[in-house]
Amino acid sequence: MAFFSGVVDRLLGRQQPIPRDLSFKDERSFVAQKHACPSCHTHLEAAELEQSLYVCPQCRHHFRINPTERIRTLADAGSFQEFSQEIHSVNAIGFPGYEAKLSEAKAATGQGEAVTNGFASIDGRKVVVSIMNFKFMGGSMGSVAGEKLTRAILTGLEKDLPVILFTTSGGMRMQEGIFSLMQMAKASAAIAQLELARVPLFVVLTDPTYGGVTASFAMLGDVILAEPGASIGFAGPRVIESTIRQKLPEGFQKSEFLVEKGFVDAIVPRNELRKTLAFLIDTHSNP
């Protein structure tokens, strides 16, 4: 499930090491160091980027952002109120080295897990948000991420508030074995509850969203939005290339491809997201 980039040739016994795609990890430090957009190479300063909602003013490249930045760019100032931050991961199957990985991720992100939950207001409309963080172990989903997403969804049900999920993930967290696989069914069962009670669920797919996240809650929104140019799929492109033994077409698994194939409702640029979500919230009220 967790098809991270750069692993698949090895997986299929093709031994050439794959060069790490540095643009993933270092897009933001690229800007800080080179004073340019990694996508179009136009002059760009970090402060300018922050002003433009972390979108390149020139080429509209959408940079990956963390939950704190997401809230800052989306919610009404001061409206965010975090919940369920008291849940922490354990090494449920005794996987070697997992505790160390967790500590590293916590230190690197300053966050407790790959999912952040909270109440927020969007142009005065109260909602529940659950936001994934790709920087926390590739946004991988284990028991805590599953529990947090489930609680966000069920809190929306309990309080009768629209639920908005922001996805970004490499897939399920292998270090938690079967427990992580079960989180797909868990979050989806929670969404089934929303379905029965007709509480709206909006999903915003951001770059990248893969594996078991795509094969569960990411595809279950009443409305599914995507940020421009985001990579979204079940299997990673390298896995697919080695399965079908041919090059994938240009733009494969990009947001635009998913719209064309009928799996995403609309692509919404970051500067229009607040307005769009507000409109969707207003049009999904349940009398």
């Binding site: 499930m1 090895r10 529990e147 399920m172 967290r173 029965l196 078991g212 896995v239 697919i240």
Partner: protein
């Protein structure tokens, strides 16, 4: 006691607790601790993985033929096509109509090409959901047989939305108002497996495995060496005894000496015994009860620590909500 005996005891305790309201938590915990002792060496464990993948094991259609009096296969998702890697239909089991679903591997190269080695495409999962809803409409129990390395990771699969197909199954299987029983009969490969794996009760054959990723995949990604698949298999804790001790599955179906391939009829008979026992229990329940129990089962899966520990209260509060629907 050997592992099988312990597993049997756990099963006995579980069914006892289901019938009467006895508190068995302490007994269960003790047994499960025993079970997690006595680990296999990586070599022994790898033999089990190979056994689970043995191409002579009974397949979904063979098991159905063995346990039903009459069976008709139903084809197609009514949208794109028919997927020979995931089959389904209606059979008579001791006189009662039952809907069956399952991954279908081939026995030889030619059949495997037609069956895509049991790697299903989106249309397979959509057919599964169509037949599951048909079962619900006509009040038939649903029984699924899981045996796949995974959902097919190809171009066509992505274009037709394999993620969406599995996701929808996970959500909609949770809401089915009929008994749903799942059996992992060989390989329980990740999303492709759980795509037909949301049941009231989930069982594994003695020589099967169920995992978030293949041992080979895990070895490549986390251990950075595809040759360490047997080590990865040990670390992933993917055997029936592991999943039993985690409380993820409800029981283990014994296989004949040597493995399921040694005696298809006996393997099928053991599965049938378990189906009949489970159905006796589940058919007593209303549709609402079945949905609630299935949801609660999956909503409570996961291991984590919580400061203050309000998990139980949270779900209790939730299930006492008045629904508007």
């Amino acid at each position: 006691m050997d592992q099988n005996e312990i597993q049997k005891k756990i099963q006995e305790l579980r069914s006892l607790a289901n019938k009467s309201n006895v508190d068995i938590q302490s007994d269960l915990k003790r047994l499960q601790e025993k079970l997690s002792d006595g680990r296999l060496s990586p070599q022994e464990l790898w033999k089990k993985i190979l056994l689970a993948r043995n191409s002579d094991r009974p397949t979904t259609l063979e098991i159905i033929q063995h346990i039903t009096e009459n069976f008709i296969e139903l084809h197609g998702d009514r949208a794109y096509g028919d997927d020979a890697a995931l089959v389904g239909g209606i059979g008579l089991l001791e006189g009662r109509p039952v809907t069956f679903l399952g991954h279908q591997k081939g026995r030889n190269m030619k059949e495997n090409i037609r069956r895509n080695y049991g790697w299903a495409h989106p249309e397979g999962y959509r057919k599964a959901l169509r037949l599951a809803k048909q079962a619900e409409k006509f009040g038939r129990p649903l029984i699924t047989f899981i045996d796949t390395a995974g959902a097919y990771p190809g171009l066509a699969s992505e274009e037709r939305g394999i993620g969406e197909a599995i996701a929808r199954n996970l959500r909609d299987f949770a809401m089915l108002k009929v008994p749903v029983l799942c059996f992992i009969i060989g390989e329980g490969g990740s999303g492709g497996a759980i795509g037909i794996g949301v049941g009231n009760e989930v069982y594994m054959l003695e020589n099967s495995f169920y995992s978030v990723i293949s041992p080979e995949g895990c070895a490549s990604i986390l251990l950075r060496d595809p040759n360490k698949a047997s080590d990865a298999a040990a670390q992933l804790k993917l055997l029936p005894s592991d999943l039993m001790s985690f409380g993820i599955i409800d029981g283990i179906v014994p296989e004949p000496d040597g493995g399921a391939h040694a005696d298809h009829a006996l393997t099928a008979a053991n599965i049938k015994t378990q189906i009949l026992e489970s159905l006796k229990r589940l058919e007593q329940k209303t549709g609402e009860q079945l949905v609630r129990e299935r949801m609660t089962k999956f909503l409570s899966m996961g291991r984590f620590v919580e400061e203050g520990g309000t998990k139980q209260n949270f779900f209790q509060r939730l299930f006492s909500l008045n629904r508007r629907a």
